[in-house]
């Protein structure tokens, strides 16, 4: 059905590929090794100098602690709502916009693309206070909706640019053929364009989801109630004024990453593009 893409390094080069991959993984995942070894120890073994990779006592107690005493589940729920909400909102707004830019001729295409880019040039640090005032006036402070909107807004540039690029690279002939067969525009979009650009859609979804899942500054500024705090804020519970509870912090951080990784693992095969013959070029 879908042919998996292999690259030019065929069977000859595979061991080399695997070795290099493992090497890079060791380097890139180094802090996660630290995270794992820290979360499996008691508070008594966190601060030892010189440090040890393997603690004397390995414990899984931290998992119970963060779940029961620190109500991690609530933070998870909030993060999920915000992340899923903003991904959905983003897609809802970006796909039509990207389609318009890619497929329709109109004046001001460059202006539109540029407009979305301008937003990216201002760090949240610079706009947070003004946005606070805006949301305060709209009564959207301390709400999921407020964060969903702002996260979607900040992911818009990437989504629209990437998706329009994907849409543009699909040859027009395919749709023209469909038009001749009597398909409506809507049908060409849902049956041709979207399926073919699934790598782009997947990438955009993951990007928006992760960006919202990990967003910190706006959550800190807008959210007040403990019940609505996402993970990014909740984790700071373990950063004290005079010392940090690293064993609990790493445990929670680890748990916070898992859903993202699982989501990615599930979706990643959609990264393999669908193609019905014909070349796809940038």
């Amino acid at each position: 059905m879908m042919k998996p893409r292999t690259s030019k390094w065929r069977n000859r080069g595979k061991p080399f590929v695997i070795i290099l991959t493992v090497l890079l993984l060791l380097i890139m995942l180094f802090p996660f090794f630290v995270m794992i070894t820290t979360m499996l120890r008691t508070s008594k073994e966190v601060y030892i100098s010189p440090p040890r990779w393997i603690p004397h006592t390995i414990t899984f107690n931290n998992f119970f602690l963060v779940w029961s005493q620190y109500l991690l589940a609530g933070y998870f729920k909030s993060s999920a709502i915000i992340a899923i909400g903003s991904s959905a909102l983003n897609m809802l707004l970006s796909i039509p916009a990207a389609y318009a830019i890619a497929r329709l001729r109109f004046k001001g295409q460059q202006v539109a693309l540029y407009l979305f880019l301008v937003v990216q040039m201002f760090s949240p640090v610079v706009v947070v206070i003004s946005l606070f005032k805006t949301f305060s006036a709209l009564n959207l402070l301390d709400s999921y909706i407020g964060l969903i909107i702002i996260n979607a807004v900040f992911s818009m540039a990437f989504s629209i640019w990437l998706l329009s690029g994907y849409f543009k690279s699909i040859p027009v002939q395919i749709e023209e053929a469909a038009f001749i067969d009597g398909a409506t525009r809507w049908q060409t979009v849902t049956r041709i364009i979207l399926p073919i650009s699934s790598p782009g859609l997947v990438t955009t979804t993951i990007y928006t989801f992760i960006a919202a899942w990990n967003e910190f500054l706006f959550a800190l500024s807008f959210i007040q109630k403990q019940e609505r705090m996402p993970l990014t804020l909740g984790l700071y519970r373990f950063v004290g004024r005079w010392s940090s509870q690293w064993e609990l912090l790493t445990t929670s951080a680890f748990l916070a990453i898992i859903p993202v990784l699982v989501l990615f693992y599930i979706i990643q095969q959609r990264l393999i593009g669908g193609l019905t013959g014909g070349a796809v070029k940038g």
Partner: protein
Amino acid sequence: MSERVLTPHNKLRVREARLAYALLLPAVVCVTGFMIYPLVYVFLMSVFKTNRLGWLVKFVGLTNFGTVLSDIEFWRVTGRSLLWTTLAVFMKTFLGMVIAMLLNVQFRGQKMARMLFIAPWASSVPISVLLWSWVYNPQFGLLNHTLKITGIWPNPPVWLGYPISGFFAAIWVDIWIGVPFMALVFLSGMQSIPEELYESADMDGVNNFQKFKFITLPSILRIVQISTLLSALWTFNDFNAIYILTGGGPVNSTDILITSIYKNAFVYARFDQAAVMAIITFIILTSLSVVYARYYFKEDV
């Protein structure tokens, strides 16, 4: 080649434009609706004197710009920002490309490897940087400890205590966080390249490097362009990596524009000067985008 117009009749073109505007409207309204006030306010703050809460006090024209631009420290920080951005984006693109190519190969555990490479991106940035500060700790951190006992680096520096090692420690964290995104985007682009192109190249006896240069790269060029541009914008404004690790120190030697903006706004309560720096950031990033846009849109027509 890139024929975007499906039906070239004029009457239909008007209808087409209207449809386009309708499709664009929600996104445009959402973005401008929420961002117009903050952006206008930043401009206002830069030409007004502000009080310690950022409220506008008195119109002063370009005085704030004068104050900021005549401070030599500002130029140092700006130069460092440009160095920071260039180095980091280059490394992220390079490493991202390498990883994408590796993950493009079919091998056992490929799915697992892909998932694992995403990990640095999957974690919230402030928390990741905090974790790194723990890793970099001279007494408790496992990095120096491991470097010492494996003999890779018998006498590693006190990373966050000195200007140069601090800069590199921070830039590595920024790169580390940004690589998964680049790899993912490149990989998804590579996945769209049809196998047949490589097969015919193989039959022509083309070597690996040429395959990359003439098949892979051109196919994903658009994607590389847009991701490096966005990466440059994000990297320039990467606040957490430097601020949480070194605080911009020691003695502001690792400050980049965004950390300086933050300090001016939230520590010194000089919102007007922070706004000036934000505007200058905007000017720099706009110029960069314009250059990019030239290349990007050149292929359209």
